[in-house]
Symmetry: C2
Subunit: 353 residues, 2 copies
């Protein structure tokens, strides 16, 4: 593996007969050159096999083009798909991403943020839930959060209220006589968390339409075993309490909705007529389940794109001679999409059951 001699601005200037200043302008402010001259230089770079050294360029203009990302985990499809979409915005905005997985460890995440700041990231996207937005707002760089507490920072969130309202509406449309919302948050006491909107949407729909309903809030742990155990108890309870009613279950994520579908199928060999289910997230499991599960999909592509766009706007503002910093954080909201599948639309079945 031979090491090639680096091609310098001098070499490019000699080759093209432009001045070194013109070559420098090509890299730092190409629009100041005519299109024709840009093309001459671009061709010279290919001829000379020029290798750009962006690290050197950063030192010259102070722009790293790095965005930091702190994400709780990649185990849940919701987060891995979000990261996928964030990374793919490189094609639109040209920013590179330095990614850290927080795993819910507050102190570790603080350490990661310091490391990111040492690399002169221009902005930060936060999906993890640990560090309060007040503290984030004091870091002194542009920040956008997605689906977490966001009082003091800019954010992009799903319209969870509308999602809860739509899911409940779908169950009502199918004439469910009691609608039950099962949510893993352990308390409705923190309306700062965007996902709480799902509970409120459910409650409002049922109240407005005078539908019999029940809200079940239960922390279920992180293993399938413990989720299965809790949901099995909840299913027994519901079955015993509403034996003769058509039951609509709105479950706050597809993973848990799938566990309920499995419990029902294993007990009855098919989905009983008096059970309808709707999940949330449009995870792959909603399609891979033995009976595909109706769900409320978050538009992860739009959430990611809007988050990066909002961040880039702020980063660009700071590069102006007289930046106008935001007086108040901006909060954007993305509409969810209701997906009707077999757990509510039995006619979509393939006829096997």
């Amino acid at each position: 593996m031979k090491q090639k001699k680096n091609v310098t601005f001098n070499d490019i200037a000699n080759y093209t007969h432009f001045s070194k200043t013109t070559i420098s302008r090509y890299f730092n402010n190409p629009d100041s050159l005519t299109l024709e001259n840009q093309e001459i230089i671009a061709k010279a770079l290919v001829d000379l096999d020029y290798k750009e050294n962006k690290v050197a360029r950063i030192l010259a203009n102070g722009k790293t083009e790095f965005i930091g990302v702190i994400i709780p985990n990649l185990f849940l499809h919701y987060y891995s798909e979000m990261l996928n979409q964030i990374l793919s915005t490189y094609e639109s905005f040209g920013y590179k991403f330095l990614v850290f997985i927080g795993n819910g460890q507050e102190e570790t995440e603080r350490r990661y943020i310091q490391e990111l700041l040492a690399y002169k990231i221009e902005g930060l996207i936060i999906l993890s839930h640990t560090i309060p937005s007040k503290e984030l707002s004091e870091l002194g760089i542009p920040i956008v959060t997605i689906e977490r507490e966001d009082k003091y920072v800019c954010s992009v969130n799903t319209d969870n209220y509308m999602g809860g309202y739509q899911a409940t509406g779908l169950l009502a449309e199918h004439n469910c006589e009691v609608i039950i919302h099962i949510n893993y948050i352990n308390s409705p006491a923190n309306p700062d968390v965007p996902a709480y909107g799902r509970v409120q949407g459910f409650l409002d729909f049922c109240t407005e339409h005078q539908i019999k309903h029940e809200l079940i809030l239960k922390e279920m742990g992180n293993t399938y075993e413990s989720i299965r155990h809790h949901l099995s108890d909840i299913l027994d309870e519901i079955t015993g309490k509403y034996p003769n009613l058509k039951k609509g279950l709105f479950i706050s994520n597809d993973t848990q909705a799938n566990v309920l579908v499995n419990l029902l199928i294993r007990k009855y060999g098919k989905l009983p007529e008096d059970f309808l289910l709707v999940g949330f997230d449009n995870s792959p499991i909603s399609e891979e389940a033995v009976i595909p599960i109706s769900t409320v999909g978050q538009q992860i592509d739009k959430l990611s794109y809007e988050a990066v766009k909002l961040l880039v706007e702020q980063m660009n503002e700071r590069k102006k001679r007289k930046p106008m910093l935001l007086k108040e954080p901006i909060h954007k909201v993305i509409t969810p999409v209701l997906l009707r599948k077999e757990t509510t639309e039995k006619e979509l079945g393939t006829g096997f059951f």
Copy 2:
């Protein structure tokens, strides 16, 4: 958000009464100072609220501490978990990762690699399948691939042969009278791809133990719809061909194994006695399936750790005054783990079926 004035080496020197050279040595070669002096400077950094600028440090010593990663997608759990584990090696090795998603686009991946080289990455981890290892080997930086064609570069792979052998052995142990391997690769003609080892392990076990067997190779597309369609046809074919035999199915990934389980359950209301199944990957779906699926697990944590370790060793070698470059690429192999679940061990069932 007030902008703080940056603390310089001069400020630290004045505060501690050390020379600027000593301060510089603290950052670039701390071991050359006594522990006592290191502590004095460390304390000064806190007192002065010093913010490290690693970009400036890179220019001084040429080490970016960046590793580039090209991964095909984050949709498959196998890849998102691999990325999770790669990123978490930061705690062991201190390297930061610049990640690009290739989506199977060869030209795009070449462009990403150029961008990574412009950022002076010290090494590259490649999980995508597009660019031949010959071309990768000519990039002139240390490279490690995971589970792809790797003739000319270092790699870490699962022992796929053993995985195929173990899966087939489990079905034989349960007295299956015919063992069928269903694999999505469209041809066994490319033994350079590590996953081909699964086919060979299956064939060798059956031949050695004189077991009736069939190999079904079929490209099934990327949508659930098309996978479901193909597997439904295959299931009809198998059922018709071996009506009175106990059938063992070894399927090359858990996603497809789950589709087969769903087809069987939807047809018979339970898993028929004459069907046993083993998947591959230990994906979450193998646990979330209506009947948990026996599977061969790849040790993704070990694959990732060994890949980064092998890369770091080469990167460190290059920092020596007289580096010894590898004459031949190193190929490491990680043992897979067989996980017995309900699709082979019916006694593990919860009694519902």
